[in-house]
Protein backbone atom coordinates (compact mmCIF):
# COMPACT_ATOMS: atom_id res chain seq x y z
CA UNK A 1 0.00 0.00 0.00
CA UNK A 2 2.61 2.40 1.04
CA UNK A 3 4.89 1.43 -1.81
CA UNK A 4 2.16 1.60 -4.47
CA UNK A 5 1.21 5.10 -3.53
CA UNK A 6 4.65 6.49 -3.35
CA UNK A 7 5.54 4.74 -6.58
CA UNK A 8 2.79 6.54 -8.38
CA UNK A 9 3.65 10.22 -8.43
CA UNK A 10 0.24 11.27 -9.75
CA UNK A 11 -1.55 9.79 -6.75
CA UNK A 12 0.90 11.30 -4.35
CA UNK A 13 0.45 14.74 -5.85
CA UNK A 14 -3.30 14.64 -6.14
CA UNK A 15 -3.56 13.34 -2.60
CA UNK A 16 -1.35 16.12 -1.41
CA UNK A 17 -3.12 17.82 1.46
CA UNK A 18 -5.15 14.82 2.48
CA UNK A 19 -2.13 12.58 2.67
CA UNK A 20 -0.82 14.91 5.28
CA UNK A 21 -2.78 12.87 7.80
CA UNK A 22 -1.84 9.62 6.09
CA UNK A 23 0.96 7.18 6.55
CA UNK A 24 3.22 8.57 3.84
CA UNK A 25 3.84 11.73 5.79
CA UNK A 26 7.41 10.84 6.56
CA UNK A 27 8.18 10.23 2.91
CA UNK A 28 6.74 13.48 1.58
CA UNK A 29 8.72 16.18 3.28
CA UNK A 30 7.06 19.19 1.58
CA UNK A 31 3.64 18.02 2.69
CA UNK A 32 4.83 17.84 6.26
CA UNK A 33 5.89 21.44 5.93
CA UNK A 34 2.49 22.40 4.62
CA UNK A 35 0.76 20.49 7.40
CA UNK A 36 2.81 22.26 10.04
CA UNK A 37 2.23 25.62 8.44
CA UNK A 38 -1.51 25.27 8.25
CA UNK A 39 -1.75 24.15 11.87
CA UNK A 40 0.50 27.01 12.86
CA UNK A 41 -1.61 29.35 10.77
CA UNK A 42 -4.73 28.14 12.51
CA UNK A 43 -3.07 28.57 15.88
CA UNK A 44 -1.93 32.06 14.92
CA UNK A 45 -5.43 32.90 13.79
CA UNK A 46 -6.95 31.74 17.08
CA UNK A 47 -4.37 33.71 19.01
CA UNK A 48 -5.02 36.82 16.94
CA UNK A 49 -8.76 36.65 17.42
CA UNK A 50 -8.47 36.09 21.13
CA UNK A 51 -6.06 39.00 21.49
CA UNK A 52 -8.45 41.18 19.53
CA UNK A 53 -11.55 40.13 21.46
CA UNK A 54 -11.63 43.10 23.87
CA UNK A 55 -11.05 45.56 21.03
CA UNK A 56 -13.70 43.94 18.87
CA UNK A 57 -16.21 43.94 21.72
CA UNK A 58 -15.60 47.65 22.16
CA UNK A 59 -16.07 48.31 18.45
CA UNK A 60 -19.17 46.17 18.18
CA UNK A 61 -21.03 47.15 21.32
CA UNK A 62 -19.92 50.72 21.83
CA UNK A 63 -19.69 52.00 18.27
CA UNK A 64 -21.23 49.70 15.66
CA UNK A 65 -24.36 48.74 17.56
CA UNK A 66 -25.10 52.29 18.79
CA UNK A 67 -24.50 53.61 15.30
CA UNK A 68 -27.05 51.32 13.69
CA UNK A 69 -29.45 51.78 16.53
CA UNK A 70 -29.16 55.54 15.96
CA UNK A 71 -30.33 54.98 12.41
CA UNK A 72 -33.20 52.84 13.67
CA UNK A 73 -34.07 55.39 16.35
CA UNK A 74 -34.18 58.17 13.78
CA UNK A 75 -37.01 56.32 12.04
CA UNK A 76 -39.15 56.30 15.18
CA UNK A 77 -40.99 58.94 17.18
CA UNK A 78 -39.35 57.68 20.36
CA UNK A 79 -39.48 59.83 23.47
CA UNK A 80 -37.41 59.26 26.63
CA UNK A 81 -39.08 56.58 28.75
CA UNK A 82 -41.77 55.71 26.21
CA UNK A 83 -41.79 53.08 23.47
CA UNK A 84 -41.34 54.44 19.97
CA UNK A 85 -43.52 54.01 16.91
CA UNK A 86 -41.98 53.45 13.49
CA UNK A 87 -42.60 56.56 11.43
CA UNK A 88 -40.32 56.03 8.43
CA UNK A 89 -38.68 59.19 7.18
CA UNK A 90 -41.14 61.52 8.95
CA UNK A 91 -38.47 62.90 11.28
CA UNK A 92 -36.24 63.81 8.38
CA UNK A 93 -39.08 65.26 6.33
CA UNK A 94 -40.32 67.45 9.12
CA UNK A 95 -36.76 68.69 9.65
CA UNK A 96 -36.67 69.99 6.10
CA UNK A 97 -39.71 72.15 6.83
CA UNK A 98 -38.36 73.37 10.13
CA UNK A 99 -37.03 76.92 10.05
CA UNK A 100 -34.75 76.42 13.06
CA UNK A 101 -33.28 73.37 11.41
CA UNK A 102 -32.56 75.18 8.16
CA UNK A 103 -30.93 78.01 10.02
CA UNK A 104 -28.92 75.44 11.98
CA UNK A 105 -27.73 73.83 8.76
CA UNK A 106 -26.49 77.18 7.47
CA UNK A 107 -24.91 78.04 10.83
CA UNK A 108 -23.12 74.69 10.96
CA UNK A 109 -21.59 75.23 7.53
CA UNK A 110 -20.44 78.76 8.36
CA UNK A 111 -19.21 77.77 11.79
CA UNK A 112 -17.20 74.81 10.53
CA UNK A 113 -15.81 76.49 7.41
CA UNK A 114 -14.76 79.72 9.12
CA UNK A 115 -13.34 77.99 12.20
CA UNK A 116 -11.36 75.47 10.15
CA UNK A 117 -10.15 78.20 7.78
CA UNK A 118 -8.97 80.45 10.60
CA UNK A 119 -7.35 77.59 12.48
CA UNK A 120 -5.51 76.67 9.31
CA UNK A 121 -4.19 80.18 8.62
CA UNK A 122 -3.30 80.87 12.24
CA UNK A 123 -1.82 77.40 12.69
CA UNK A 124 0.37 77.76 9.60
CA UNK A 125 1.50 81.22 10.71
CA UNK A 126 2.35 79.88 14.15
CA UNK A 127 4.27 76.94 12.68
CA UNK A 128 6.24 79.15 10.27
CA UNK A 129 7.16 81.53 13.09
CA UNK A 130 8.27 78.69 15.33
CA UNK A 131 10.32 77.24 12.48
CA UNK A 132 12.41 80.42 12.26
CA UNK A 133 15.70 80.20 14.14
CA UNK A 134 15.31 82.03 17.45
CA UNK A 135 16.55 81.76 21.00
CA UNK A 136 14.18 80.07 23.48
CA UNK A 137 12.06 78.80 20.60
CA UNK A 138 11.22 75.60 22.48
CA UNK A 139 9.83 77.69 25.35
CA UNK A 140 7.63 79.67 22.95
CA UNK A 141 6.52 76.47 21.28
CA UNK A 142 5.51 74.94 24.60
CA UNK A 143 3.59 78.09 25.56
CA UNK A 144 1.77 78.41 22.23
CA UNK A 145 0.71 74.76 22.30
CA UNK A 146 -0.70 74.91 25.83
CA UNK A 147 -4.35 75.58 24.82
CA UNK A 148 -4.36 72.16 23.22
CA UNK A 149 -3.94 70.49 26.62
CA UNK A 150 -6.75 72.46 28.28
CA UNK A 151 -10.10 70.66 28.55
CA UNK A 152 -12.56 72.17 26.08
CA UNK A 153 -15.15 72.74 28.79
CA UNK A 154 -12.71 74.81 30.76
CA UNK A 155 -11.72 76.77 27.66
CA UNK A 156 -15.37 77.55 27.03
CA UNK A 157 -16.09 78.52 30.65
CA UNK A 158 -13.00 80.66 30.78
CA UNK A 159 -13.96 82.55 27.63
CA UNK A 160 -17.52 82.93 28.77
CA UNK A 161 -16.10 84.75 31.74
CA UNK A 162 -13.86 86.87 29.50
CA UNK A 163 -16.94 87.83 27.44
CA UNK A 164 -19.06 88.55 30.52
CA UNK A 165 -21.13 91.74 30.11
CA UNK A 166 -20.51 93.47 33.40
CA UNK A 167 -17.31 92.07 34.79
CA UNK A 168 -15.57 90.17 31.98
CA UNK A 169 -12.06 90.98 30.86
CA UNK A 170 -12.97 92.38 27.45
CA UNK A 171 -15.48 95.01 28.54
CA UNK A 172 -13.43 95.74 31.61
CA UNK A 173 -10.37 96.34 29.46
CA UNK A 174 -12.16 98.36 26.78
CA UNK A 175 -13.80 100.64 29.31
CA UNK A 176 -10.73 101.10 31.51
CA UNK A 177 -8.72 102.25 28.51
CA UNK A 178 -11.64 104.35 27.15
CA UNK A 179 -11.85 102.42 23.89
CA UNK A 180 -15.61 102.16 24.27
CA UNK A 181 -17.93 103.68 26.80
CA UNK A 182 -20.80 101.21 26.39
CA UNK A 183 -20.95 97.66 27.56
CA UNK A 184 -20.85 95.25 24.65
CA UNK A 185 -22.94 92.08 25.04
CA UNK A 186 -20.53 89.84 23.21
CA UNK A 187 -22.46 86.59 23.45
CA UNK A 188 -25.98 88.02 23.47
CA UNK A 189 -25.62 90.29 20.45
CA UNK A 190 -26.98 88.46 17.37
CA UNK A 191 -24.30 90.06 15.19
CA UNK A 192 -21.39 89.16 17.46
CA UNK A 193 -22.32 85.84 19.04
CA UNK A 194 -21.20 83.54 16.22
CA UNK A 195 -17.92 85.43 15.77
CA UNK A 196 -17.22 85.10 19.49
CA UNK A 197 -17.94 81.37 19.50
CA UNK A 198 -15.68 80.87 16.50
CA UNK A 199 -12.91 82.88 18.17
CA UNK A 200 -12.98 80.48 21.11
CA UNK A 201 -13.00 77.43 18.83
CA UNK A 202 -9.99 78.86 17.00
CA UNK A 203 -8.15 79.62 20.23
CA UNK A 204 -8.60 76.07 21.40
CA UNK A 205 -7.95 74.29 18.10
CA UNK A 206 -5.06 76.19 16.51
CA UNK A 207 -2.24 74.40 18.37
CA UNK A 208 -3.24 71.08 16.79
CA UNK A 209 -2.63 72.60 13.37
CA UNK A 210 0.64 74.27 14.38
CA UNK A 211 1.93 71.03 15.89
CA UNK A 212 1.34 68.94 12.78
CA UNK A 213 2.47 71.73 10.43
CA UNK A 214 5.63 72.37 12.43
CA UNK A 215 6.49 68.68 12.40
CA UNK A 216 5.98 68.75 8.63
CA UNK A 217 8.12 71.87 8.19
CA UNK A 218 10.95 70.37 10.18
CA UNK A 219 10.87 67.24 8.06
CA UNK A 220 11.61 69.20 4.86
CA UNK A 221 15.29 68.64 3.94
CA UNK A 222 17.27 71.89 4.23
CA UNK A 223 19.02 71.10 0.93
CA UNK A 224 15.82 71.90 -0.93
CA UNK A 225 15.90 75.46 0.37
CA UNK A 226 19.61 75.76 -0.32
CA UNK A 227 19.06 74.63 -3.89
CA UNK A 228 16.19 77.09 -4.31
CA UNK A 229 18.35 79.84 -2.81
CA UNK A 230 21.10 79.14 -5.34
CA UNK A 231 18.54 79.26 -8.12
CA UNK A 232 17.69 82.75 -6.90
CA UNK A 233 14.24 81.98 -5.48
CA UNK A 234 12.91 84.64 -3.11
CA UNK A 235 11.61 83.73 0.35
CA UNK A 236 8.09 83.96 -0.99
CA UNK A 237 8.88 81.71 -3.95
CA UNK A 238 10.56 79.20 -1.67
CA UNK A 239 7.43 79.18 0.45
CA UNK A 240 5.12 78.53 -2.48
CA UNK A 241 7.30 76.15 -4.47
CA UNK A 242 9.14 74.23 -1.75
CA UNK A 243 7.21 74.46 1.52
CA UNK A 244 3.60 74.27 0.37
CA UNK A 245 3.94 71.25 -1.96
CA UNK A 246 5.85 69.37 0.73
CA UNK A 247 3.13 70.01 3.29
CA UNK A 248 0.18 69.17 1.07
CA UNK A 249 -0.47 65.75 2.58
CA UNK A 250 -0.25 67.07 6.12
CA UNK A 251 -2.58 69.95 5.23
CA UNK A 252 -5.21 67.57 3.91
CA UNK A 253 -5.08 65.12 6.80
CA UNK A 254 -5.12 67.85 9.42
CA UNK A 255 -7.98 69.75 7.83
CA UNK A 256 -10.10 66.65 7.39
CA UNK A 257 -9.56 65.42 10.95
CA UNK A 258 -10.24 68.85 12.32
CA UNK A 259 -13.36 69.29 10.18
CA UNK A 260 -14.87 66.16 11.69
CA UNK A 261 -14.05 67.26 15.22
CA UNK A 262 -15.04 70.90 14.74
CA UNK A 263 -18.34 70.11 13.10
CA UNK A 264 -19.36 67.63 15.77
CA UNK A 265 -18.20 69.43 18.90
CA UNK A 266 -21.09 70.85 20.86
CA UNK A 267 -19.30 71.91 24.03
CA UNK A 268 -18.38 75.40 22.90
CA UNK A 269 -21.91 76.31 21.89
CA UNK A 270 -23.46 74.53 24.86
CA UNK A 271 -21.44 76.51 27.38
CA UNK A 272 -21.01 79.85 25.61
CA UNK A 273 -24.44 80.56 24.12
CA UNK A 274 -26.70 77.48 24.27
CA UNK A 275 -27.41 78.16 20.61
CA UNK A 276 -28.70 81.67 21.23
CA UNK A 277 -29.41 84.49 20.71
CA UNK A 278 -32.43 83.48 18.59
CA UNK A 279 -30.65 80.34 17.26
CA UNK A 280 -27.87 82.49 15.79
CA UNK A 281 -25.23 80.07 17.04
CA UNK A 282 -27.27 76.87 16.87
CA UNK A 283 -25.33 74.03 15.21
CA UNK A 284 -26.24 70.40 14.46
CA UNK A 285 -24.70 68.59 17.41
CA UNK A 286 -26.12 71.08 19.89
CA UNK A 287 -29.56 70.97 18.30
CA UNK A 288 -29.48 67.17 18.46
CA UNK A 289 -28.45 67.40 22.10
CA UNK A 290 -31.22 69.78 23.13
CA UNK A 291 -33.82 67.88 21.09
CA UNK A 292 -32.88 64.50 22.55
CA UNK A 293 -32.25 65.52 26.13
CA UNK A 294 -34.05 68.85 26.61
CA UNK A 295 -37.19 68.08 24.63
CA UNK A 296 -36.71 64.34 25.30
CA UNK A 297 -37.37 63.47 21.65
CA UNK A 298 -34.78 60.75 21.14
CA UNK A 299 -35.92 59.79 17.63
CA UNK A 300 -35.80 63.33 16.33
CA UNK A 301 -32.47 63.95 18.07
CA UNK A 302 -30.97 60.91 16.38
CA UNK A 303 -32.31 62.11 13.03
CA UNK A 304 -30.66 65.52 13.48
CA UNK A 305 -27.32 64.03 14.41
CA UNK A 306 -27.48 61.71 11.41
CA UNK A 307 -28.31 64.39 8.88
CA UNK A 308 -24.75 65.63 8.76
CA UNK A 309 -23.27 62.16 8.82
CA UNK A 310 -23.20 61.54 5.04
CA UNK A 311 -20.88 64.52 4.68
CA UNK A 312 -18.61 63.13 7.35
CA UNK A 313 -18.57 59.70 5.70
CA UNK A 314 -16.66 61.12 2.76
CA UNK A 315 -14.02 62.52 5.09
CA UNK A 316 -13.91 59.33 7.15
CA UNK A 317 -13.39 57.14 4.08
CA UNK A 318 -10.55 59.28 2.71
CA UNK A 319 -8.95 59.65 6.13
CA UNK A 320 -9.11 55.93 6.86
CA UNK A 321 -7.16 55.25 3.71
CA UNK A 322 -4.58 57.88 4.56
CA UNK A 323 -4.19 56.86 8.17
CA UNK A 324 -3.58 53.25 7.27
CA UNK A 325 -1.14 53.99 4.47
CA UNK A 326 2.07 54.51 6.47
CA UNK A 327 1.27 51.46 8.56
CA UNK A 328 0.84 49.27 5.49
CA UNK A 329 4.19 50.10 3.97
Amino acid sequence: MLSTRTDNPRVAISAGPRSAYGEDVLVQAPVVGRWRRSAAARHESYLAWSLLTPTLLVILFLVAYPFFSAIYLSLQDKMVGAPGRFVGLDNYLSLLRDEVFLRTAWNSVVYTAVAVGLKFVLGLTMALILDQPRRFNNVFRTLLFVPWAVPVVIVALNWRWIFDDLSGFLNNFLITFHITSDIISWLADPRLAMACVIAVVVWSGTPFYSMTFLAGLQAIPKELYEAAEIDGASALQQFFFVTIPRLKTIFLTTVMLSTIWTATNLQFVLILTRGGPASRTEIFPHLAYTTALGARRLGMGAAISLVFFPLLVVLIVILTRRMLRPADE
Binding site: E44, S45, L47, A48, W49, L52, P54, T55, V58, A64, F67, S69, A70, M126, I129, Q132, R134, L143, V146, P147, W148, A149, V150, P151, V152, V153, I154, N158, W161, I162, S167, F169, W203, M211, T212, L214, A215, A219, S234, A235, I250, T253, L257, I260, T264, L266, L270, I271, F284, A288, Y289, G301, S305, L306, I316, T320, R322, M323, L324, A327
Partner: protein, 281 residues
Protein backbone atom coordinates in the same frame (compact mmCIF):
# COMPACT_ATOMS: atom_id res chain seq x y z
CA UNK B 1 20.49 90.26 -5.37
CA UNK B 2 22.18 88.71 -2.36
CA UNK B 3 21.63 91.88 -0.38
CA UNK B 4 17.90 92.00 -1.09
CA UNK B 5 17.55 88.36 -0.05
CA UNK B 6 19.27 88.94 3.27
CA UNK B 7 17.25 92.15 3.64
CA UNK B 8 13.99 90.34 3.15
CA UNK B 9 15.23 87.64 5.54
CA UNK B 10 15.80 90.22 8.22
CA UNK B 11 12.39 91.73 7.55
CA UNK B 12 10.78 88.31 7.79
CA UNK B 13 12.55 87.74 11.06
CA UNK B 14 11.13 90.91 12.58
CA UNK B 15 7.68 90.26 11.22
CA UNK B 16 8.00 86.82 12.78
CA UNK B 17 9.03 88.23 16.15
CA UNK B 18 6.18 90.73 16.09
CA UNK B 19 3.61 88.07 15.26
CA UNK B 20 5.07 85.83 17.92
CA UNK B 21 4.35 88.47 20.56
CA UNK B 22 0.77 88.87 19.29
CA UNK B 23 0.23 85.12 19.30
CA UNK B 24 1.68 84.77 22.79
CA UNK B 25 -0.68 87.45 24.13
CA UNK B 26 -3.66 85.82 22.38
CA UNK B 27 -2.72 82.40 23.74
CA UNK B 28 -1.84 83.34 27.28
CA UNK B 29 -4.42 86.02 28.02
CA UNK B 30 -7.20 83.59 28.99
CA UNK B 31 -4.82 81.91 31.44
CA UNK B 32 -3.97 85.25 32.92
CA UNK B 33 -7.63 86.12 33.39
CA UNK B 34 -8.35 82.70 34.85
CA UNK B 35 -5.59 82.86 37.46
CA UNK B 36 -6.13 86.56 38.19
CA UNK B 37 -9.84 86.01 38.83
CA UNK B 38 -9.16 83.09 41.13
CA UNK B 39 -6.92 85.29 43.27
CA UNK B 40 -9.39 88.14 43.71
CA UNK B 41 -11.97 88.82 46.38
CA UNK B 42 -15.56 89.08 45.10
CA UNK B 43 -15.47 92.87 45.42
CA UNK B 44 -12.76 93.05 42.76
CA UNK B 45 -14.45 90.53 40.49
CA UNK B 46 -17.87 92.07 39.96
CA UNK B 47 -19.43 95.39 39.18
CA UNK B 48 -17.90 98.85 38.99
CA UNK B 49 -14.97 98.06 41.20
CA UNK B 50 -13.88 95.20 38.97
CA UNK B 51 -10.14 95.27 38.39
CA UNK B 52 -7.84 94.06 35.64
CA UNK B 53 -5.46 92.49 38.13
CA UNK B 54 -5.89 91.42 41.75
CA UNK B 55 -5.07 94.48 43.89
CA UNK B 56 -5.24 92.44 47.05
CA UNK B 57 -4.50 88.84 46.12
CA UNK B 58 -6.34 86.34 48.28
CA UNK B 59 -6.85 82.60 48.31
CA UNK B 60 -10.42 83.02 49.58
CA UNK B 61 -11.86 81.64 46.33
CA UNK B 62 -9.89 78.43 46.77
CA UNK B 63 -11.10 78.24 50.36
CA UNK B 64 -14.70 78.46 49.17
CA UNK B 65 -14.02 75.93 46.44
CA UNK B 66 -12.74 73.30 48.84
CA UNK B 67 -15.01 74.28 51.73
CA UNK B 68 -18.42 74.64 50.12
CA UNK B 69 -18.40 72.71 46.84
CA UNK B 70 -18.07 69.02 45.99
CA UNK B 71 -14.99 69.85 43.90
CA UNK B 72 -12.82 67.22 45.59
CA UNK B 73 -15.47 64.62 44.82
CA UNK B 74 -15.33 65.60 41.16
CA UNK B 75 -11.56 65.34 41.20
CA UNK B 76 -11.77 61.89 42.72
CA UNK B 77 -14.31 60.73 40.13
CA UNK B 78 -12.36 62.14 37.19
CA UNK B 79 -9.23 60.45 38.49
CA UNK B 80 -10.88 57.06 38.95
CA UNK B 81 -12.38 57.18 35.48
CA UNK B 82 -9.29 58.51 33.70
CA UNK B 83 -6.96 56.01 35.38
CA UNK B 84 -9.32 53.08 34.82
CA UNK B 85 -9.77 53.99 31.20
CA UNK B 86 -6.04 54.46 30.66
CA UNK B 87 -5.16 51.06 32.12
CA UNK B 88 -7.79 49.24 30.07
CA UNK B 89 -6.84 51.09 26.89
CA UNK B 90 -3.20 50.16 27.38
CA UNK B 91 -3.96 46.47 27.89
CA UNK B 92 -6.57 46.20 25.12
CA UNK B 93 -4.47 48.34 22.81
CA UNK B 94 -1.30 46.30 23.27
CA UNK B 95 -3.03 42.95 22.76
CA UNK B 96 -4.99 44.06 19.71
CA UNK B 97 -2.10 45.96 18.17
CA UNK B 98 0.19 42.96 18.55
CA UNK B 99 -2.29 40.76 16.72
CA UNK B 100 -2.69 43.29 13.94
CA UNK B 101 1.02 44.03 13.61
CA UNK B 102 2.55 40.60 13.93
CA UNK B 103 0.04 37.81 13.39
CA UNK B 104 -1.35 36.63 10.08
CA UNK B 105 -5.03 35.84 9.98
CA UNK B 106 -7.93 36.35 7.64
CA UNK B 107 -9.74 39.63 8.26
CA UNK B 108 -6.71 41.53 9.50
CA UNK B 109 -6.93 44.39 6.99
CA UNK B 110 -10.65 44.70 7.59
CA UNK B 111 -10.21 45.06 11.33
CA UNK B 112 -7.45 47.62 10.92
CA UNK B 113 -9.79 49.63 8.73
CA UNK B 114 -12.67 49.17 11.15
CA UNK B 115 -10.52 50.58 13.95
CA UNK B 116 -9.79 53.82 12.15
CA UNK B 117 -13.40 54.25 11.09
CA UNK B 118 -14.48 53.64 14.67
CA UNK B 119 -12.07 56.25 15.90
CA UNK B 120 -13.42 58.81 13.43
CA UNK B 121 -17.11 58.27 14.22
CA UNK B 122 -17.94 61.30 16.37
CA UNK B 123 -19.41 60.90 19.89
CA UNK B 124 -22.09 63.44 18.94
CA UNK B 125 -23.60 60.68 16.81
CA UNK B 126 -23.43 57.95 19.43
CA UNK B 127 -24.50 59.53 22.68
CA UNK B 128 -28.24 59.10 22.14
CA UNK B 129 -28.24 55.32 21.46
CA UNK B 130 -25.40 54.77 23.97
CA UNK B 131 -27.66 56.26 26.59
CA UNK B 132 -30.13 53.46 25.83
CA UNK B 133 -27.36 50.84 25.95
CA UNK B 134 -26.15 52.02 29.33
CA UNK B 135 -29.71 52.14 30.69
CA UNK B 136 -30.30 48.51 29.76
CA UNK B 137 -27.02 47.53 31.39
CA UNK B 138 -27.89 49.61 34.49
CA UNK B 139 -24.68 51.54 34.08
CA UNK B 140 -26.13 55.05 34.16
CA UNK B 141 -24.62 56.99 37.08
CA UNK B 142 -21.69 54.63 37.54
CA UNK B 143 -17.94 54.99 37.12
CA UNK B 144 -17.92 51.76 35.15
CA UNK B 145 -20.41 53.19 32.66
CA UNK B 146 -18.15 56.11 31.84
CA UNK B 147 -14.97 54.03 31.77
CA UNK B 148 -16.70 51.67 29.37
CA UNK B 149 -18.03 54.35 27.02
CA UNK B 150 -14.69 56.17 26.98
CA UNK B 151 -13.15 52.96 25.69
CA UNK B 152 -15.08 53.62 22.47
CA UNK B 153 -12.62 56.35 21.53
CA UNK B 154 -9.50 55.43 23.50
CA UNK B 155 -9.23 51.77 22.44
CA UNK B 156 -9.40 52.31 18.66
CA UNK B 157 -6.88 55.13 18.90
CA UNK B 158 -4.49 53.22 21.17
CA UNK B 159 -4.66 50.08 19.07
CA UNK B 160 -4.09 51.98 15.85
CA UNK B 161 -1.17 53.97 17.23
CA UNK B 162 0.51 50.96 18.83
CA UNK B 163 -0.01 48.88 15.69
CA UNK B 164 2.03 51.34 13.68
CA UNK B 165 4.72 51.39 16.33
CA UNK B 166 4.92 47.62 16.85
CA UNK B 167 5.42 47.18 13.10
CA UNK B 168 8.53 49.33 13.28
CA UNK B 169 10.15 47.05 15.88
CA UNK B 170 12.61 44.87 13.89
CA UNK B 171 11.20 41.43 13.24
CA UNK B 172 14.58 39.76 13.87
CA UNK B 173 14.53 40.69 17.54
CA UNK B 174 11.25 38.95 18.05
CA UNK B 175 12.22 35.92 15.98
CA UNK B 176 15.28 35.47 18.18
CA UNK B 177 13.06 35.44 21.26
CA UNK B 178 10.63 32.99 19.65
CA UNK B 179 13.46 30.65 18.69
CA UNK B 180 14.70 30.80 22.28
CA UNK B 181 11.38 29.38 23.34
CA UNK B 182 9.54 32.56 24.21
CA UNK B 183 5.78 32.41 23.64
CA UNK B 184 4.05 35.02 21.49
CA UNK B 185 2.76 36.88 24.52
CA UNK B 186 6.17 36.51 26.17
CA UNK B 187 7.85 38.18 23.22
CA UNK B 188 5.23 40.95 23.27
CA UNK B 189 5.99 41.68 26.90
CA UNK B 190 9.78 41.13 26.85
CA UNK B 191 10.76 42.32 23.39
CA UNK B 192 8.18 44.61 21.84
CA UNK B 193 6.87 46.58 24.81
CA UNK B 194 10.30 47.66 26.11
CA UNK B 195 11.06 48.97 22.63
CA UNK B 196 7.75 50.82 22.37
CA UNK B 197 7.95 53.01 25.45
CA UNK B 198 7.40 56.27 23.51
CA UNK B 199 4.22 54.87 21.97
CA UNK B 200 3.03 53.65 25.36
CA UNK B 201 3.67 57.14 26.73
CA UNK B 202 1.58 58.67 23.97
CA UNK B 203 -1.25 56.20 24.55
CA UNK B 204 -1.16 56.88 28.28
CA UNK B 205 -1.23 60.60 27.66
CA UNK B 206 -4.13 60.50 25.24
CA UNK B 207 -6.27 58.03 27.11
CA UNK B 208 -5.82 59.94 30.33
CA UNK B 209 -6.38 63.44 28.96
CA UNK B 210 -9.26 62.46 26.72
CA UNK B 211 -11.05 60.82 29.64
CA UNK B 212 -10.19 63.70 31.94
CA UNK B 213 -11.42 66.29 29.42
CA UNK B 214 -14.49 64.42 28.15
CA UNK B 215 -17.75 66.24 28.65
CA UNK B 216 -20.59 64.98 26.46
CA UNK B 217 -20.86 61.42 27.75
CA UNK B 218 -20.14 62.50 31.32
CA UNK B 219 -22.95 65.02 31.05
CA UNK B 220 -25.49 62.66 29.51
CA UNK B 221 -24.74 59.42 31.35
CA UNK B 222 -24.25 60.79 34.88
CA UNK B 223 -26.58 62.75 37.12
CA UNK B 224 -25.44 61.91 40.61
CA UNK B 225 -22.91 64.09 42.44
CA UNK B 226 -21.22 60.91 43.63
CA UNK B 227 -20.09 60.04 40.10
CA UNK B 228 -19.98 63.47 38.42
CA UNK B 229 -16.64 64.40 36.85
CA UNK B 230 -14.87 67.76 36.92
CA UNK B 231 -15.94 68.85 33.45
CA UNK B 232 -19.65 68.44 34.10
CA UNK B 233 -19.37 69.55 37.71
CA UNK B 234 -17.75 72.83 36.68
CA UNK B 235 -20.31 73.64 34.04
CA UNK B 236 -23.01 73.21 36.68
CA UNK B 237 -21.46 76.02 38.71
CA UNK B 238 -22.84 78.55 36.22
CA UNK B 239 -26.32 77.16 35.97
CA UNK B 240 -27.06 78.35 39.44
CA UNK B 241 -27.42 82.09 39.21
CA UNK B 242 -25.02 82.67 42.04
CA UNK B 243 -21.90 84.73 41.45
CA UNK B 244 -19.34 82.05 41.56
CA UNK B 245 -16.61 83.03 39.14
CA UNK B 246 -13.82 83.21 41.72
CA UNK B 247 -14.02 79.58 42.89
CA UNK B 248 -14.88 78.50 39.37
CA UNK B 249 -11.75 80.01 37.86
CA UNK B 250 -9.78 78.45 40.71
CA UNK B 251 -11.32 75.10 39.90
CA UNK B 252 -10.62 75.60 36.18
CA UNK B 253 -7.00 76.36 36.93
CA UNK B 254 -6.59 73.32 39.19
CA UNK B 255 -8.33 70.95 36.79
CA UNK B 256 -6.18 72.12 33.90
CA UNK B 257 -3.06 71.13 35.80
CA UNK B 258 -3.14 67.32 35.35
CA UNK B 259 -3.42 67.34 31.55
CA UNK B 260 -1.03 70.28 31.41
CA UNK B 261 1.63 68.60 33.51
CA UNK B 262 1.27 65.42 31.48
CA UNK B 263 1.60 67.42 28.30
CA UNK B 264 4.80 69.06 29.57
CA UNK B 265 6.27 65.68 30.51
CA UNK B 266 5.25 63.79 27.38
CA UNK B 267 5.60 66.73 24.98
CA UNK B 268 8.36 65.26 22.84
CA UNK B 269 6.58 61.99 22.16
CA UNK B 270 3.17 63.55 21.90
CA UNK B 271 4.21 65.72 18.99
CA UNK B 272 5.68 62.65 17.34
CA UNK B 273 2.41 60.80 17.91
CA UNK B 274 0.61 63.75 16.37
CA UNK B 275 2.61 63.54 13.17
CA UNK B 276 1.04 60.16 12.71
CA UNK B 277 -1.94 62.36 12.17
CA UNK B 278 -4.31 61.50 14.88
CA UNK B 279 -5.23 63.73 17.73
CA UNK B 280 -8.35 65.62 18.65
CA UNK B 281 -8.13 69.32 18.00
Amino acid sequence: MARTTSGSRRLLKWVGNGLLVVLLVWTLLPFYWMIATSLKADREIYGFEATLYPHRPTLAAYGRLFGTTPFMKYVRNSTIIAVGNTLLSLVFGCLGAYALARLRFPGRALIARGLVVTYLVPPALLFIPLFAVLSTLHLIDTHQGLILTYLSFSVPFSTWLLMGYFRSVPLELEEAALVDGCSRLGSLVRVILPMSLPALAVVTFFSFTQSWNEFLYANVFVNSVEVRTITTGLSLFIVEDVFFWGPMMGASFLSTLPPLVMYLIFQRWVVKGLTLGAVKG
